[in-house]
Symmetry: C2
Subunit: 501 residues, 2 copies
């Protein structure tokens, strides 16, 4: 067994190296690459990702996994070895089901769809995108068929991002969540307590914004010896190894929140990856277990910490030192209210905590309806606008600010959106459990101390990488099944207080 | 034939993509990578370069080349197709002669040697490096044996950097060059005209240094849409495609020459790569034809242009605008003399134009003597110091500033050094020919116009990439065989004037 396991790790290490190389190429593309580099880069990336895929689905890995599976039965099921064999087998079997021709078609079609989406969004003209979106959907329907039988047609798509999670679970959670969130948003709209966030819209020196953000995430525990922050048009986190996990942000000179909360969010993702056990290095388990669990980490640092009163008790005077003329006269309470303003809006990525999930549910419902063939692609803009009005009371003035706003569908990504909301839910589930384990948590945050907070997540979540399926990991950490209740309670308490509800 | 050629390009394109990925990883390693990334990066690079090598030496490429070689006989020998088949066959046959075990041994031994060299240099202790250098030399001797028969034992090493050039040619050139250079350096030492370069050693704002350098290379014709400049500990140029050729430099706040001439030098390399014909993209010919020809381009822009009077007629007032308090009172002539100070020194990379080649000849002679077993590794420090005294009249106070100063041997690189000097020679050969084709060249440079200068090199050198062997290319461009005469005349004229010889 030892020889075979060693050989398996060697082959997986090769795949991991290729994926890391692709990640570096992608990072460079988004940060420093000159415009001329674009065409060559798409070739480099196509070759590297194709080789990584070929190397992963090769027969030898299949044979090794087959041989090791029976032997792994004798191991501790929580050992690295057993988990690697189990999770890699799962992924291997999935990837082997997808024919090479489909992969090639998908790559070609999404490349065109991405271009037509960019054009359509620029011109706010959905029909420009419509035929390509049709083709993408058709390919996704074919994709789903490779995984028959399934309980729900959406299951195979969801499983790519949340291994093991079922569509019926998400539907149930969202049904619990939707009425409560709509109710909360309405109550806030009718509240007599109106909040002004004008203080966030001033001229803020970009270098100071940058420095303050980095000061905060250093205090959180983001390790700059094993990472760095650069600028990019869209913030992201990328990992080349456990010891090189980088983040990016963008800075708006006229609005404080963009860079600050972007940095906090991405540092949350990055600290997860920096905290994974070395023993999983160069295996497919060297990464977060799912998008939702990843998002639980980013949203926790951004919102549960970064938009909380205790955090600003610790850091507001530092921020004032950076911006004395802009914020010197602004009281902590007013600043806290400003960063927590709730206002139904058109664009998901700019949405506040109270409305964000409604944007997600809308997309999830549309994806389901499309796959179940209860909705035609051509009807998307109209249904989008109806639902925006129903959930948020706003109507997009055009498709660019409506159905065309997100990049995901143009890249063939379906089944992804719900993970953003599930991340919010998981973040509060973990938080509630952590508060029991660390009774003076709030006090520590007020003192700018995050060791226990980070340490708790390192132990319960980070170190395990991809060893456990996401809902299994959440259950291990919290003792509970996935639930909307903690998040609803969190929203009601926080915004009830801010808006005197 | 067309099908086979297409397939060959496809396979070569894959290799090129892998090499480009490795280049991006290398660039990042030298510029932005956090310290923690080092270990993972060495794994990524090992995998990518191994795959690139495996993909290049595979049987299918050999069969395609074999089939295409006979057919290529009917093609115009200067066509891309004919040159690609010829040059790739040449390289393929070379690489196939080197057994995989040797490559693995070499990688292992040089990895250790590099570490012991770093330690030895730090502690200025040659014996720390000696056993590993012995092993590296032993492997290089084995390497040479893969290419028997050869005229000279050094030929196979030289051929890796200067395809087609023979050791006997280099020996002959150097024998012509050495006495003239030694004579010139002695005459300068005895000259009554002493030059003071203290003006270069002031406090120069780093951003201004950076901006001035970039202003100059933009005027030269370096295309920032297809490249960029970043900081690194050691300046270098790297190419990911014809449309993404990047340079780096380092900046010393207390010395003007480092960043400025570093930038000009690297831009020379980069403009060569940016000027290669698109039709060679993603083939092994998408790059300069040899190190010497590459160095002819970098040294031309750095020295023949950047250290010339006409160039400073155009740019000195701009430099004074950047540094009014440092250079406002310094006359153009004094500045020109300062940047052309000749002073025998210990360190090759800091040597001036008049002494530089002597550093190279010393290394070349030691490499020959070692390979011919007329010199033992253990005697290197002593012989090094003797030759330094003989050629330059200086003696290293320790091995760190003597035999341990260069990285090359620790990486197993032998046969490389002479290309630096050959580059100087080729630069002046090209320059002399260009002056005939562009009679008002000097006037153009005085006006800061470089279009004709760059255009001439684009046409004669750059566009051809690796299509022609280096000395063939030089002959095509100048009508002459490689010769030391133009360079000697250049040095004598320039420094005769500066030093009133």
């Amino acid at each position: 067994m030892e020889e075979q396991y060693k050989r398996l790790l060697e082959l997986l290490g090769e795949v991991s190296d290729l994926q890391a190389a692709a990640a570096v190429l992608g990072w460079d593309q988004q940060t420093y690459m000159p415009p001329g580099g674009a065409q060559g880069r798409s070739m480099h990336l196509a070759t590297i990702t194709r080789l990584a895929h070929e190397k992963f689905v090769n027969e030898e890995i299949g044979e090794l996994l087959e041989a090791l599976k029976s032997e792994a039965a004798d191991l501790d099921p929580d050992s690295d070895e057993a988990c690697i064999v189990k999770q890699v087998s799962r992924e291997y079997e999935k990837q082997r089901k997808v024919p090479g021709e489909w992969v090639a078609d998908f790559s070609r079609v999404t490349s065109m769809a991405h271009q037509s989406w960019e054009k359509a969004r620029k011109e706010s003209d959905f029909p420009t995108f419509e035929p390509d979106l049709e083709s993408v959907f058709e390919l996704r329907r074919q994709y789903v068929d490779f995984f028959t039988p399934y309980d729900h047609i959406y299951d195979p798509l969801l499983d790519d991002f949340e291994p093991g999670l079922k569509t019926s679970d998400v539907i149930q959670i969202f049904e619990e969540l939707r009425p409560k969130q709509v109710e909360l948003v309405q109550a806030i709209a009718e509240s007599s307590n109106s909040i002004d966030d004008a203080v966030l819209y001033q001229s803020f020196d970009e270098t100071k914004q940058w420095d303050f953000g980095e000061e905060v995430i250093k205090a959180f525990g983001y390790d700059f010896d094993r990472g760095r922050q650069d600028k990019s048009p869209h913030p992201f986190t990328t990992s080349f190894s456990i010891d090189d996990v980088r983040i990016t942000t963008r800075v708006r000179p006229d609005f404080l929140s963009t860079a600050l909360f972007g940095t906090l969010h991405e540092a949350g993702h990055a600290m997860y990856e920096q905290g994974i056990s070395d023993s999983l290095a160069r295996t497919p388990l060297e990464g977060g277990t799912s998008l939702a669990v990843h998002e639980s980490q980013s949203r926790m640092w951004e919102n549960l910490v970064g938009r909380s009163k205790p955090f600003w008790v610790a850091f507001y005077s530092r921020l004032q030192e950076y911006f004395p003329s802009e914020l010197g006269d602004v009281k902590l309470d007013d600043f806290y209210q400003a960063i927590n303003l709730v206002e139904p809006s058109l664009i998901r990525v700019e949405a506040d905590e109270a409305t964000y999930n409604l944007h997600i549910m809308l997309r999830f419902e549309l994806e389901l309806a499309l796959l179940e063939q209860q909705l035609k692609v051509s009807d998307l803009p109209e249904v989008w606008n109806q639902k925006m009005d129903e959930y948020l009371g706003v109507t997009p003035p055009n498709d660019a600010e409506g159905v065309l706003q997100d990049i995901h569908w143009s890249m063939g990504i379906f089944g992804y959106f719900s993970t953003y909301s599930l991340g919010n839910l998981i973040a509060t589930m973990l938080w509630d459990k952590m508060k029991i384990d660390i009774p003076d948590l709030e006090k520590q945050i007020e003192l700018g101390k995050f060791d226990d907070l980070l340490g708790w997540h390192r132990e319960k979540i980070h170190q395990h990488g991809g060893k456990y399926e996401p809902m299994d990991l959440v259950k291990r950490a919290t003792g509970s099944e996935l639930s909307a209740e903690p998040y609803i309670r969190y929203l009601q308490t926080k915004f009830g207080e801010i808006y005197d509800l």
